[in-house]
Amino acid sequence: MAVDPSIVGRSFPRTRPYPVTEERLRTFAAATGASWEGGPAPATFPIVLAFEAMNAFLEAEQVELRRVVHGEQRFAYERPVVPGDVLTATLSVASLRQIGGNDVIGTRSEVHDERGALVCTASATLVHRGEQ
């Protein structure tokens, strides 16, 4: 089922507060074969927040996760994520193109800290593959 084009421009509810702990950073780094021994989070860590926002969005729009592949990802960081941060992500739909039976969905997730300051903007293109 194609995604409804009227979603462009819509913002979705922000995710629940996510406490960034040393343990979570250690686990995330270890999952990519690296080690985290203090300091800022690995650069791609904010994807954890963005994924939570994306999953909620896909569920709300009844898009089957298994039909989605990641097309593009960009991060622009205002500051590194550090342990002790409590973060939320707010996703908005920036664009939608329908190409050859696939939906190409441009999303923008803004990650904020507990004071409401922008930490990072994660822009993702999601390709929703149509039924062949």
Binding site: T27, F28, A30, A31, T32, G33, A34, G39, P40, P42, A43, T44, I47, V48, F51, E52, N55, L65, R66, R67, V68, V69, H70, G71, E72, Q73, R74, F75, A76, Y77, P80, S123, T125, R129, Q132
Partner: protein, 135 residues
Amino acid sequence: MTRLEPGAALPAQEYAVTRADLVRYAGASGDFNPIHWSERVATHVGLPGVIAHGMYTMALAARAVSTWTDDATVLELGCKFTQPVVVPDDDIGVVVVVAGTVKSVEDGRATLALEVRSGEQKVLGMPRAVVVVDG
């Protein structure tokens, strides 16, 4: 740390990726899309097999940047996921190679152009990082 001078080639970093790594990454990232662990689902939706999370490959690119720059603060990181990294169901997995070049250094920031390959194939489109440099 490699000196970040314009035109400098950054030493290629090699990382092996196995199915077990993908399972671990799914748990750590919250991306449980079955195309990253189920051959049945991956092939059913038209993929060549179980593929690595794009974000896993991007995380390897970020690891290389971290190694080259001695953990410099990253200001921007981005790429397109142009080719899937197919991860075989064996204990060896697949090797991802991250190479890079310093494109420019100005105003306290260095722009790095990366090249990320699996076998002969480039798997990321225009991977790029901007990091803070001292002085």
